[in-house]
Subunit: 332 residues, 4 copies
């Protein structure tokens, strides 16, 4: 769009973006098109105050997004982390396929994706069809050795253990699988995480308790998900839970039942929402608009429309070049 | 767009919006579609904190816009006041017509329009053609009696007089016409303004002085404009002045010289910009997008696109309903 | 779009359009915006040869559409009659509702709509659920007395009887209901039709015989439909029949089974196609684009896009007004 | 767009398209995506009758376009040859630049482009500024030796000489330059043309004579143009000439005078029209829509919109999947 950009990424991974920019330059990008700065948050905050940028695109946690919104007085577009949910509808079919997608959505890259599945609403028909044991079986096959587990960059084992403890204090809560650090031999230092793919069950009614709700919906940027169960009669309670979440990045409605899909879609407002038997929360059909919804600061990536929304602004130019047909306009 | 709206307008004119909403109801609008609240700014601030609205559209002064941006953490669209400029290009023609448009833009409704002409860049060719005496003549014909002057709702005579004093301290500044309260008999009380249409000349070079710049660009929501002059050689200085203004609502490029129009348009970024011999800052061709530009919080009014930009948000729904063609997705 | 239009309608109903144009004039349409001509086809043909119109929009039968295409050398858009089909998918539900829609689609206004249901593909599951007896029951309730039957303007009873005779020569064909002139007392003269709502069953395999195919797909602009039956295994044969039809105005896929809907939609190319449990061939959700598909001459009505497609044309104007940056362009 | 295409090009150059398709296949195009046929027009006509293609895109002469329109009953899009005009407006400037563009537009590739400048309207101001002698000088520098002349593929010297003879019979017509075969030594055989860049002047008033008009507007696919002159008072006559032309592919309005540009653009309807001081009839700003206008059969090339217009068709699919809210629809 012709904007000159200053890029700042988290210092842990800043080395990657430098290499990427070197690649762009090698491919012909003029060197003066991008500024890259390696720094920490405190220094960047000072820099922002100094240069007062016209627009900032932020990708990252909700907490920092709010801090920057204040600092920039709202001149920001946000593509933040999400506490993304998936709901399995009343129609049970293709159970092996759907279990493997759920396993991917929750535990691929050890759950370190902004679109990872953090909350799973399971219709009772799926519980009856032994869906939980299917995803348990898949999760337990993950290991460093076969390349399906990753070190956890930003959450330690202790943090995850503490969070599990908190969730387990909710009446009816229980670990479905995982819940422990990986025992397989590895060389990951303690400042990073090395945790088993974990699912904790919480009864649906616990979500109506405000204190529990906050615990349940705390995001862990690792291989961790909350699972709950609902019946046809409880669908409205599920929709209320969805409405109370305020991190609305991605969602998945796994069903081919048209009235069910329509009801859930029309009562939720997550950004990127996949619907249908193949719905997932992450890594779905490529090349679509990707971003949250329901917030005027919501920014998107990945399509011409998203780029224009974030990096451009409507400007109305009215050409009024025809010769005047009167000598004076009427005075009022 | 289906949003339920709470309307709050300035308490001085809140009675008007109530009548308008009564009209809407009389025309068939369901009563529950809009909430109207009569209140002052302090109370409204408390209310906003309480209800935490998803989106706020604000029309009004830059100062309050910034305050609300902080309060709402950026969940706001702004269609704020402007310090709107007009530039007369090197090609002189249709002088009576253009003088009458300038008179309307600056003094219609005694200048109480967010799109009023506050700053006029006059090419030397126009000065030589006696443009100033043309607009002086028109301004001096305005009176309460012939219905071309209005009471000033939000600025007192004293405020305007003080501002003129400040501007006149700038070397080279001088009153072109007006500069005094209306002497014609009237019954407007002192808490409102009753001032003659006024133009004060300031030399272009004064704009480069940061202190002077702030004085010059202080908006008076009344019948007041700054006039300056430039030559072909000074066009780049004019463009710099335009770029330094941060209230970019409307603008007018009065010229049919194509390279001149292109140069000014491509070096400025006001929102609603009229270009051509009939360009004006206000009340131009109807039914177009109206709003500022160059700020991610910029909101527009007046077209389907503007309504969608402000009251809606991109939501990406991907239907992925075809039967799976594999039993499991590959694990990574 | 600014075009000046000459309107010619069938002489039987030309009196109606005259009244409508008088209404437009009474509402303020300038009299010179439209020319109306009352005449027959032969005279209109001569007129067209004389004035050589830039564009003609034709609504009517396929035969006349082809004649006009030749006469106008293709400067025509066509929104012609259709031999419109409906298919009932494998999922049986809402049988009373769907029967009543089918009755409306086939026999409303005694079938005198370009979008009337002319061919009904019934999945065996629906036959087993007694769907035919449902629509028979509804058809037999139609009468002049209760206002659900109309005189037939362009087809006589004899023409319909001859057509039925021809269809019944196909092995396996049989009358499902109707098949006779109305016996109820009425005053419709013989030059118009007065026929009972009629359905004739033809086995699916008869469609593969080219001679039978032509008989089966002859359109009767009256209360007449062909019904056939298919099983899951025979769906591909059904799709082939759809593909062989060359009057592709409307169609309906009555099913909420997503893979079924997708398969039928992706193997057919009718213009206005309704899909889902509430699908119909006629009078469905209003204010959408209406027209055939699959022909570069296809024209639409009813939306801004349709109006632009028919009455406008892409014109590319490139403004190249910037001053030359070289004295001469390089010669090649 | 997914269509399977049969390609047929003029047998003189069919060898080129074969090589191009071989290139596409080498780049990965599946071999079954395109059919290429080497044949003459007579055989192709038989083939078209046999296969009855759904759509044909034709690029070539107007005569064949009309023949194919009949054969295909209008199922065709046309991007035909043009008798393209350029008009020089009243404002004279950048004369060397504009002369060199005119030379390129008329004589580049010896005028063998569908967008070549065939008719030049010269405002008297330009004649007075010696524009004709400028383009004469440039034309006379063209030679085989310096690579600025080409053999003429489809027109012989005799054909051009005959045409010049016909034009010169018009009262007031005269050769401005050229008018003879190239005398420079070359090895071009007689079945091809080898002619000097030629301009013939015809008075504007000759265009109103119907017989002369046909002679003047006969297209020569070679280095030949008609030149005429007009004054301000004669602009309306010029616009009438433009309106009478029926090959409306490209046009150029060389002027930066806004009212002049607006008047010519709003009274003409050529397809690709360049306006402004840098306007040309050929090889202008790249990557825009290219095609004629003012004919429902007009097809374009070069942009996504053009591809969709030609190779696709609006299809309206209405999903009506919500459960019925009534048991039966009301019978009428």
């Amino acid at each position: 769009m012709g904007n000159k950009v200053v890029v700042k990424v988290d210092s842990k991974v800043s080395v990657c973006i430098e290499e990427f920019i070197r690649l762009l330059v090698a491919c012909g990008m003029p060197k003066e098109d991008v500024n890259l700065i390696h720094t920490n948050g405190e220094n960047m905050e000072e820099l922002i105050k100094d240069i007062n940028p016209k627009m900032t695109l932020f990708t990252g946690s909700k907490r920092i997004a709010e801090k920057l919104s204040q600092l920039l007085s709202g001149r920001i577009k946000i593509e933040d982390a999400g506490f993304d949910w998936k709901i399995l509808g009343p129609d049970v079919h293709d159970i092996d396929y759907i279990a493997s997608v759920a396993d991917q959505d929750a535990y691929c890259l050890s759950g370190q994706k902004c679109s990872a599945q953090s909350l799973l609403f399971v219709h009772k028909n799926w519980s009856d069809a032994k869906f939980i044991s299917k995803i348990k079986e898949l999760a337990e096959q993950r290991s460093y050795k076969n390349g399906t587990l990753s070190p956890i960059m930003t959450v330690t084992n202790q943090t995850i253990l503490n969070h599990i403890d908190n969730v387990l204090k909710i009446p009816g809560a229980q670990i479905l699988f995982g819940g422990k650090p990986v025992t397989e031999q590895h060389s990951i230092p303690d400042c990073y995480g090395s945790f088993k793919p974990t699912a904790v069950f919480v009864p649906l009614k616990a979500f109506t308790n405000k204190k529990y709700f906050e615990v349940i919906t705390t995001e862990i940027f690792g291989p961790f998900q909350i699972v709950t169960e609902y019946t046809d009669k409880e669908l409205d309670s599920v929709l209320e839970v969805m409405d109370n979440l305020d991190q609305q990045l991605t969602a998945a409605v796994v069903s081919n039942n048209i009235p069910f899909i329509n009801k859930v879609l029309s009562h939720s407002c997550n950004g990127v929402t996949y619907a249908g038997v193949r719905a997932r929360t992450t890594g779905a059909p490529q090349n679509h608009w990707f971003g949250p919804c329901g917030d005027p600061r919501a920014g998107g990536i990945g399509t011409p429309e998203a780029i224009k929304l974030v990096w451009s602004s409507h400007r109305e130019i009215i050409m009024d070049t025809n010769p005047p047909t009167v000598k004076k306009v009427v005075q009022v």
